[in-house]
Amino acid sequence: MNRKDFLQLSAMGFGALMIPSSLLAGNAIDPAQALLEGMDVGMKKQLSDVALTAARAKGATYADVRIGRYLNQFITTREKRVQGISNTESFGVGIRVIANGSWGFAASNVVTKEEIIKTAERAVAVAKANAKITTEPVQLAPQKGFGDVSWKTPIEKNAFEIPVKDKVDLLLKVNDIALQGGANFVNSAIMAVNEQKYFASTDGSYIDQDIHRIYPFFNVTQIDKATGKFQTRRSLSSPVGMGYEYLNAAGNNKVTGVVTRYKDRYDILEDVKNATADVAQKIKAKTVEPGKYDLVLDPSHLWLTIHESVAHPTELDRVLGYEANYAGTSFLTLDKWKSKNFQFGSKLVNIVADKLQPGSLGAVGYDDEGVKCKEWDLIKDGVLVNYQAIRDQAHIIGLKESQGCCYAQSWEDVQFQRMTNVSLKPGTSKLSVDDMIKNVEKGIYIVGDGSFSIDQQRYNFQFGGQLFYEIKDGKIAGMLKDVAYQANTQEFWNSCTAIADKSDYRLGGAFNDGKGQPGQSNAVSHGSSTARFNGVNVINTARKI
């Protein structure tokens, strides 16, 4: 699948964050091939040592090597038709070095001793060319070597081992339910990712990891013949760091209410039935009256607000200006952090970075520069206390070691600071969503993520959603449409007056978060329980052309 195809999917409502053009690049392979073992670990270690030795011989003071095999499977359907079955494999080696105080990187898809030597030499040559125009040498936080270690996503069923036919049948069944229910169009897809990556560095680490992710999703469209207008409703699934077991949900994996939502397992057949009913209701829904509302935000929606307004501005490379030319900088400047009293949100707001959380997209054992993963506070009792950093930034915020936020989307891309899982902690007092809604006089309950946009320093944002329910005097009073809310990040998080307890906690996430030049894709989860925000500005998005 190329970028154009993906953008067309996005236009149909398969939302994607900023998508780098290299998304899903790779070589198509047949499903059986995907099951074959990749290169032997011992061989990877030998070849890694060749790379590290060659880099040092040419003058590198530090080097790391990543030998990666990246498998993707992407099955797309619309109505009764399979649009595409794509299996891709990408195998190669990326070598990063410091020489003369500057970074250099080179990559090759030919993983032989001779080619690895040449690639290491190219990386050193790039570093030396860059050193001529660099004034400040790279300062790398110390990192102990771990020797030979490994980590694997704890999956139950490898999605690549499930026959393609089973997945196609499931998706066509999804489409059939939508069409039988009165939808005019339906698109559905399953994406599966397996990153088999081996990392070695001159610090003495040899790390073998096997990472799995999956994302099943659909989009149902219904056209109102009377007006010619259409509405859509996307799946309430999340991309997760799991195997095919994600698609096997039982009762205790579900959250019932005005619409059924899902915890750590997903029932796609039930959700599409509900979506088809929802989309018909959306067509008849009342258009929203613009104004101030108390918003009750479901985790299936709130993850994206956390992603854009908390997780991005706490990325240290943005704070420092490394992303100034593309993704932007951050309003969470170092002086606010140093003050130790910058009130990012209300006292209820506690936000953590966590690369360990089971089932999350960001969970790995070690990051892509050999740092062991951990959990730490970003916002504590509403106050900004930390950032997300990597080895060459740690010294700037007085850290003795990296927090482990380094990632590259493939062997052929250079690793750099990427967002980890960033989540809102649940409320500590017992509070259900129903009890939260009971106290709202004039509000909107929002489920599912929709349109999203935020400025380059992460102050001003606007979000849509999938389903909007009017709350009047403590009760759900029916569905609304044409809803989007706009707010200032700090004002919004300070307006947080209630967070449901841990029984409501769920993960949402982004399968393809884009950043960098050239653009790279990253997958990351954001957890929360339902939360309430008072007096937020809601606009009406209906227009005529």
């Binding site: 067309q8 236009a11 149909m12 409502g13 900023m18 790779g26 070589n27 198509a28 392979i29 047949d30 091939q33 038709r81 399979v82 970074w103 990187f105 990559a107 190219r122 040559a125 790039v126 060319a129 860059n130 001529k132 125009i133 660099t134 400040e136 393609v164 056209i223 010619g228 207008k229 259409f230 420092l320 200006g321 490394y322 992303e323 100034a324 030319n325 593309y326 900088t329 309003f331 250079v414 750099f416 349109s451 946009s453 935020i454 400025d455 380059q456 102050y459 001003n460 606007q462 044409d482 989007a484 706009q486 200032n488 960098g516 030049q517 606009i539 998005t541 227009r543 005529k544 052309i545």
Partner: protein, 444 residues
């Protein structure tokens, strides 16, 4: 190895086709080499070299197609890849929309390849960036920028005798300069086929002047304003619209090009009569490939002519279903304009806002093409024909279709790039009335 000449590509593809046992087989090659350099805080942050070549094989039995891709080119690997595509085809469900391959076509030569761009080295990239860093240092600004050059080739051959080949060079450069206090920011972006047109020194000077000029912006009330969009802002604003020029989505009733009551808007006056948008792969300022991935020739074609929808893309399947000729999607996008410079547009404005750049544009409603996003890197208040002062950034909620009904004047088209896709366009600066800003942003 990554860039094959036409005869080398042709020989390789013929060899691959000779292995085919399928009813129909289509094979293509894509090769790419080049490099990039990224800098921030006035020093190089990342840099790399790329070199890749990929062969794609589509084998079809009846209406069942299998696809495989490989980057190994010895005979055994090529044959294995062909067999694999054929095995996948046998396993695939029938595609009711499959269209038989086309026979030989005539394609004109493109003008997309410039040898000087193909000859760029890591040292020439570093030298171009050094100039930019020096300008920023002299202006006491922090620089963050990106330079990337790519040389590529594409070749397509099928079992019915079609063959197509193209080479292309491309260089893009973007630069953001910010003052130390973080109160001013400026930007410039350039994209060319020909490296000799790239002047990183002047582009950085423009970014620096925007950074210094935008410091200490004043807030004005959101609302409807006359705006002047610079080409880099206008291109990004219209990119979603350019992607939506598709007849099928329109006929299915789920596009801004859908006609209320059914069908599409071809023939309808949808925009102001000053708006003409077309594609022309032979335009000297914005050359493009002369064939598409489906093996159809690309020619000059009008999409919007004097505000009237003239053409939409028809895939070969949809064209057959609708009984019309297939229309390939845009090879490039060129919007006609006038002769006025940006300065002249400003001079003719009694009260308005100059927008240097837009940011994070996302679709709010595909039916009306309502978009939201923000201004960035230099937003200025104009009064009585002069720039009075910088203003704080705004969030907008606006549809390019509505915007192009409110055209006051168009300036001289310039080659510019989208700040998100990096695709090049030829777009005029445009003066538009009643552009809708809905809130203020504190971002600089």
């Amino acid at each position: 190895m990554a860039i094959l000449k036409q005869d080398e590509a042709q020989a390789l593809l013929k060899k691959v086709l000779a292995f085919s046992k399928a009813d129909e087989c289509e094979v293509s090659l894509n090769g790419r080499e080049g490099g990039n350099i990224r800098y921030a805080r006035s020093a190089v942050s990342t840099a790399g070299d790329i070199s890749t070549i990929t062969l794609t094989i589509n084998s079809t039995f009846g209406k069942r197609t299998g696809r495989t891709t490989i980057n190994e080119f010895d005979d055994a690997s090529l044959e294995k890849a062909v067999r694999r595509a054929e095995e996948l085809a046998q396993l695939a469900p029938e595609d009711p929309e499959y269209m038989p391959l086309q026979g030989p076509q005539t394609f004109k030569d493109s003008i997309t390849y410039v040898p000087a761009t193909a000859a760029i080295t890591p040292d020439t990239r570093a030298a171009a960036v050094a100039k930019s860093i020096q300008v920023s240092k002299d202006a006491k600004l922090e620089a963050a920028g990106f330079l990337e050059n790519t040389t590529s080739f594409d070749a397509l051959m099928n079992s019915k005798g079609l063959f197509a080949y193209n080479t292309d060079t491309d260089i893009i450069f973007s630069i953001t300069t910010r003052n130390q206090a973080g109160t001013g920011s400026g930007y410039a972006a350039r994209g060319y086929n020909d490296v000799s047109k790239l002047d990183t020194f002047t582009a950085t000077q423009i970014a620096a002047s925007k950074a210094n000029g935008s410091a200490n912006a004043k807030a004005i009330e959101p609302g409807k304003y006359t705006v002047i969009l610079e080409p880099v802002a206008a291109a990004y604003m219209m990119e979603n619209m350019f992607r939506g020029l598709d007849a099928r989505n329109a006929d299915e009733g789920r596009s801004f090009m859908s006609k209320p009551g059914g069908g599409n808007r071809i023939g309808e006056q949808l925009m102001d009569e000053k708006v003409t948008i077309y594609s022309d792969p032979f335009h000297p300022e914005l050359p493009a490939a002369t064939w598409n991935s489906d093996g159809q020739p690309q020619e000059k074609i009008n999409w919007i002519e004097k505000g009237v929808v003239k053409n939409l893309e028809y895939s070969r399947f949809w064209a057959q279903k609708k009984g019309v000729k297939p229309v390939p999607g845009p090879s490039n996008i060129i919007m006609e304009g006038g002769t006025a410079s940006l300065d002249e547009l400003i001079k003719s404005t009694e009260r308005g806002i100059l927008v240097s750049r837009l940011w994070y544009i996302r679709m709010v409603d595909p039916q009306t093409l309502l978009l939201t996003g923000l201004t960035r890197d230099g937003t200025f208040y104009i009064e009585n024909g002069v720039i009075k002062h910088p203003i704080k950034n705004f969030r907008f909620n606006e549809s390019p279709v509505i915007m192009l009904n409110n055209v006051e004047a168009l300036g001289k088209p310039e080659r510019t790039i989208s700040v998100e896709s990096y695709r090049s366009y030829l777009i005029p600066p445009m003066k538009l009335r009643d552009f809708t800003f809905t809130s203020l942003s504190d971002a600089v």
